[in-house]
């Protein structure tokens, strides 16, 4: 009989679970010679083995598997072998087989899950965790994410100790069932390289948790608190029947909601400096007034707008550690009708359901990325088929697609999104394989370019490999590779960079340029907690920097001459209220010249500044090329005899000019003037702050203690002193009359 027909019959019997008949059919066949036919037959034997395993007939399964392997190696046979090994309890062997399966079928989520389970059973928790995270990436469906979250949480105690910088403690409080929120966050955090620990407040008890000084919330010592109060719990009358009240009463009720939430925030922020992610209130899908809602002088839409904007204003003025989760926007992205499954709401009070959880987790990750100082600073872009359509080297500078018509307009829209990022303080660079002249012709002269050379802090337009270019860009800009995002349409370039430079976030653009803008807007990489004037100016500052460097490369003469000619002016003063957000931002992201890397948030900095027992200094630097702005921070703790330097950092933009010596001289003088006899400070070694390692010894401090990564240095103020370099002008305010 024809092989194909026999295999069809065997498959039919398989579906009917008539396994003996399958066997008989396959046994009756002579092994074919053609490799493709051997593989087909091998696959059916393997499926028979699988079916025997499900029936717990392991001996028959082994035999069928042997038959399969004698003919050819197939992925189905690896799958069957994996299941057999698992049934026998030899889990490492099973894992090895599953690894073959995922190598052949990398998109098979259930295979990754099985691999993870076998690693776990074989006592390999780290490999299991990696496989679970891969499964979640490949199959981000609801049930899979929930399963994986549970498994990861169970594995956590057996995983190796994570680095302190990756740990984040997250409390989740609210008025509905939020267990699934925790699950999605567990997976999202781990995929981003964070190690989360959670406190999930008991159902509906957010107020009790907030007011209980001695309770579990504060004992948990969260870094971040998510507060998701459902509107129907907080203001049921507005939620369900706002039009039972007259307009004035509705306005009052809306204002009252803002007051009540503000009170809650007040109680919370009194007791903790943790960042708070507060949900605003999503307007329900249907208004009780139906289509008449907006004709009403103060309909339901207006009520929710009043509440949400009132809340935003209060948070802006009074609560610097609170950040808002814009529910309408996030749920809008997901599609509001996917947010709540009514069956889940009525059965289990689950207010945030399957459709919205992924979008919500993404939104949380935007804040968490900024809070854990993992936001990236620089977007590096390819040119051909990235910023414009076509290849300028082949199509000529006038032949690239860029303009009002498709597909050129998609590239223009993409450039506009990039420009928005630039205006928010993201640094831009180019990494392109091209003749420089061709590419610059488009960059400088094409009328429809939105981005121009002056928008880019660095340009690598050459024929070198793109990974080396990225290293060179990072060096030129004095930032780490882990601060870069690399965007390219070419899968081969992306694969190269991903394998050579895993710290760079490589984003491979899809085939269709219409989708580019969406990909960029959806990236979680550039969010920050504040936006300062500094951020808005950054693009221009980098253009200045390029000019300065070009001048430097033309200068000859001694180092001292060069430094004097720069005309550096350093201003160091106690921080005022305006400086504090920028100070907190610098504290969050400065890694290299940072003596202690203590990540104080805005509220903590304010507390240091307000207290008479401590002081916060802001350092501004300018030179003949322009004003670098607020680029240094010092925080000191003052006791009558001893001043201690808690924090001292300087942006890498202004290193190498003696600014840090000037800072130290100001602190030494201030400590002496206050009557102290010792100035002390720690140097806490991290992977990135080697540039600061010799700071204290270089200025005559003596090491008095060393514990692990921390060295404590001390200067006797009665005998020691630090002088600011002569080539810079130091400006400090006159001491206040005390």
């Amino acid at each position: 009989m024809d092989l194909g027909l026999s295999l069809h019959i065997a498959d039919y019997y398989l579906k009917q679970r008539r396994l003996d008949d399958v066997r008989a059919t396959l046994d009756s066949l002579t092994p074919p010679d053609v490799p493709r036919e051997r593989e087909e037959l091998a696959a059916v034997w393997a499926r028979l083995a699988h079916a025997y395993i499900m029936r717990r007939k392991t001996d028959l399964a082994e035999q069928a598997l042997a038959q399969s392997r004698a003919l050819a190696s197939t992925t189905e046979a690896e799958r069957a072998a994996a299941l057999l090994a698992a049934a026998r309890g030899t889990h490492s062997e099973s894992a090895a087989h599953w690894r073959h399966v995922v190598a052949a079928l990398p998109q098979d989520g259930s295979a990754w899950l099985a691999l993870a389970r076998e690693h776990s059973a074989a006592g390999q928790p780290a490999e299991a965790a990696t496989a679970y995270l891969r499964a979640a990436r490949v199959d981000p469906s609801h049930a899979t994410v929930l399963t994986i979250a549970e498994r990861l949480a169970a594995l956590a105690p057996s995983l190796p100790e994570p680095p302190a910088a990756s740990r984040v403690r997250i409390a989740i409080l609210g008025s509905s069932t939020l267990d699934h929120v925790q699950s999605y966050l567990e997976v999202a955090c781990r995929q981003a390289g964070l190690t989360p620990t959670f406190y999930l407040g008991p159902f509906g008890q957010y107020a009790q948790d907030i007011l209980n000084d001695a309770g579990p919330l504060y004992a948990f010592a969260p870094d971040v608190i998510i507060l998701a109060i459902h509107g129907s719990t907080l203001f049921p009358e507005i939620y369900n029947a706002p039009f039972d009240l007259d307009v004035a009463s509705r306005r009052a009720a809306a204002a009252n909601v803002v007051e009540r939430v503000a009170d809650l925030l007040h109680e919370l922020t009194k007791r903790t400096n943790a960042h708070v992610l507060l949900h605003t209130f999503a307007t329900p899908q249907y208004s009780p007034l139906g289509t008449l809602d907006l004709s009403d002088p103060f309909g339901q839409t207006a009520i929710f707008q009043a509440i949400n904007s009132g809340l935003a204003e209060r948070v802006r003025h009074d609560f610097s550690s609170v950040h808002l989760i814009d529910e309408d926007r996030v749920y809008g992205r997901a599609g509001k009708r996917t947010v709540t499954d009514p069956r889940m709401w009525y059965l289990a009070r689950i207010g945030i359901g399957e459709g919205a959880l992924a979008a919500l987790a993404d939104e949380y990750m935007r804040f968490l990325t900024a809070i854990t100082a993992r936001s990236r600073k620089c977007l590096v872009l390819d040119l051909d088929n990235t910023l414009w359509g076509g290849v300028v080297g082949e199509d000529g500078p006038h032949g690239v697609a860029l303009g009002q018509e498709a597909p050129g307009n998609a590239y223009v829209a993409f450039q506009e999104a990039i420009l928005s990022l630039w205006k928010r303080g993201v640094i831009l660079a180019v990494n392109s394989k091209n003749n420089e002249a061709d590419a610059m012709e488009v960059l400088e002269r094409h009328p429809d370019m939105v981005l121009r050379p002056s928008h880019f802090a660095a340009l690598r337009i050459n024929w070198q490999d793109k990974a080396s270019n990225l290293i060179s860009i990072a060096e030129e800009l004095n930032i780490g590779l882990d601060s870069l995002v690399f965007v390219d349409d070419n899968p081969a370039e992306c694969a190269l960079v991903r394998s050579r430079l895993p710290e760079v976030l490589t984003v491979e653009l899809p085939d269709d340029p219409a989708l580019y803008r969406g990909v960029l807007l959806g990236l979680i990489a550039f969010d920050t907690l504040t936006l300062t004037d500094e951020d808005r100016e950054r693009g221009r500052l980098y253009a200045q920097r390029r000019e300065r460097q070009e001048w430097e490369s033309r200068t000859s003469g001694s180092l001292d001459e060069y430094l004097s000619e720069l005309g550096i002016v350093v201003e160091m003063a106690p921080a005022d209220a305006f400086a504090i957000p920028r100070i907190a931002q610098l504290i969050g992201k400065t890694n290299q010249f940072n003596l202690t890397t203590r990540r104080h948030n805005e509220a903590s900095v304010r507390a240091f500044a307000d207290s008479p027992a401590s002081g916060v200094y802001s350092i501004r630097v300018r030179d003949r090329f322009g004003d670098s702005g607020l680029t240094g921070v010092a925080i000191v703790r003052k006791q009558p005899d001893v001043w201690e330097v808690d924090t001292l950092l300087l942006s890498c933009r202004v290193l190498g000019r003696g600014v840090e010596t000037a800072m130290l001289s100001v602190l030494v003088d201030a400590a002496k003037a206050s009557g102290a006899n010792t100035l002390r400070g720690d140097f806490i070694r991290t992977a990135k702050n080697a540039p600061a390692a010799d700071f204290y010894p270089r200025h005559g401090f003596a090491r008095v203690e060393e514990r692990g990564e921390t060295q404590t240095w001390s200067l006797d103020l009665r005998t020691g002193s630090v002088t600011a370099p002569s080539w810079l002008a130091l400006s400090v305010p006159a001491p206040a009359q005390s």
């Binding site: 499900m54 717990r56 049934a87 049930a143 498994r151």
Partner: protein, 81 residues
């Protein structure tokens, strides 16, 4: 009871709760299987809906706390293996 349907249901239950397939059979209930908690039950319902292409009502969701009950519910909805 339909053997093949029962086998498919057991496979979904085992996969959902991360237990070996040999530990789940027609007699398994939420009481006999430790990992079958009320929150995990919701995951099972999602997996069953995906696997069999059906949607359950609230009442059906509350009742399906054993392999047998799941079989009965699916059969009543016209699902056969």
């Amino acid at each position: 009871m339909d053997d093949i349907l029962e086998e498919r249901i057991c496979e979904v239950v085992a996969r959902t709760f991360g237990v070996d397939e040999q530990d789940v059979d027609g007699d398994t209930t939420a009481q006999t299987l430790g990992s079958w908690t009320s929150l995990a039950h919701l995951r099972l319902l999602t997996n069953l809906q995906d696997a069999f292409g059906v949607r359950f009502t609230m009442a059906e969701m509350t009742n399906m706390t054993s392999v047998r009950a799941i079989e009965q519910t699916l059969a009543a909805k016209g699902v056969s293996a």
